[in-house]
């Protein structure tokens, strides 16, 4: 696990890319990890079904924040339909090795939120309760 905290991870943690909020977004979602309280919000700006811009915000551990940050870099320019299909492995390849099972939820929080934004936008959100 200590292998995990490489320089580039700590760099993403301390200098998260695409961090902040968009005033207007085309798709967005947020979620929290109820076990630890980590929160992430993802906003997408779309152009003809392609991710033109993306922002994330939230707070949490190095793992959740760095994976979210790296994820935002990865999805810029991607088709929304492909974002909706992103796999766990794609994220894991990106962040590198050494995530222990207990921390997997942290690493996947950004992905979960991002996919939920993408899938929601593709499906059309149901009426809010």
């Amino acid at each position: 696990m200590d292998d995990f905290y490489r320089d580039y991870i700590l760099d993403h943690y301390r200098n998260p890319r695409n961090f902040g909020t968009l005033e207007r977004s085309d798709a967005q979602a947020e979620d929290l990890n109820p076990l630890c309280g980590d929160e992430i919000r993802m906003q997408l700006k779309l152009d003809d079904g392609v991710v033109e811009d993306v922002r994330f915000s939230g707070k949490g551990c190095a793992i959740s924040q760095a994976s979210a940050s790296m994820l935002t870099e990865m999805v810029k320019g991607m088709k929304l339909a492909d974002v909706a299909k992103l796999s766990k492995d794609a994220v894991l390849e990106n962040v590198g090795i050494g995530i222990s099972p207990t921390r997997m939820k942290c690493a996947m929080l950004g992905l979960r939120v991002l996919k939920s934004a993408a899938i929601g936008e593709l499906a059309g959100w149901p009426d809010e309760e």
Binding site: M1, Y5, G37
Partner: protein, 414 residues
Amino acid sequence: MSVAATPKVDAIVADFPILARPTSRGKRLVYLDSAATSQKPRAVIQALVDYYEQYNANIHRGVYEIAARATTEYERARVKLARFVGAQTSEIVWVRNTTEAINLVAYSWGSSNLRAGDALLLTELEHHSDLVPWQLLAQRTGAELRFIPVDDRGVLVLDDLDRLLEGCKLVAIAHVSNTLGTIAPLETIIPRAHAAGAVVLVDGAQGAPHLPVDVKALDADFYTFSGHKMLGPTGIGVLYGKHDLLAAMPPFVTGGDMIRRVEYAHTTFNDPPRKFEAGTSNIADAIAFGVAAEYLQAIGMEWVREHERILTGYALGRLAEFEPRGLAIYGPRDPALVSGVISFNFADVHAHDLASILDTEGVCVRAGHHCTMPLMDKMGWAATARASFYIYNSEADVDALCSGIEKAARVFGV
């Protein structure tokens, strides 16, 4: 030589098989998460094995030999727990855990005693288990929820207590905060609550394991605690209730074994404590919990408290060495005010990351909100790391924690 370093701790450690097993990385297990759940001595584990290998049988209604032994041991365990907290045997109700005990009171006592306009008084420190059941009770009945505030060190502020107690029917309060370790001034609060006409439930999940408890001296109306936090197995806990209160309360969970007579249309119930114990009890774990209580009594709860006080003092001192590098200690700094719990954060290392790095060194601490989300929000902490101590911890464990923090400093370049 400090209590924390006496040979007694070595002897205690030898009673806990898990503490002799190195981690997968070959490190000594440094278990600093007893506030979440404690480890178990051999005698407790053996009590389970003995039950299942020698006299496993359903209780109370069995005529044959092993059923008689099971019944005797199960009821004897109740006597042991009654002694442990200074109660009468009939005042000890077996439950799964503190959480169920509090729910039992919220449903049974709450639904028959609370009306719209009444108030319930909690504290801002409460564990979710001593908060959510009261929120729902307040919703069901239209009662008002109030909170005794805490200051920025997590100490209860009693200035407004009398006003808060006006119209209050029940006060529910943690004996010890699981997040900050602060010990509640029950000797002040309980008499004033009684004077105002309120009954008092003490959430003893962190009290009974760590402090000498005498429910009669405290004059608590209800006192709730969990076996797994005090050397006992998971799945068993105790609701203590004053006899007259229990006798007047309607049952909560109903079914086999808590009845006097059942007809298709109508049932009369047994007396407490049986009235509240429906279905096949957690027989094995109740018996093993009795052994855990005996084990603690043999050590002496005064010793336990003193040991933890000294160890907490030592840990506060060692952790203070990291303060120049950004370590923040929450809660009171005076070991006389806290049970063996220290919450902290280290520089910009998130508590989860810190816990992960400590894990690589065999050091087990908890990280997160510790089931006290509202307190965390109020204090503005996203998460904290928490080290908590018990009878098997020593100064060497605190030193291991500090070496682990050093490692985190290296990894994170702090």
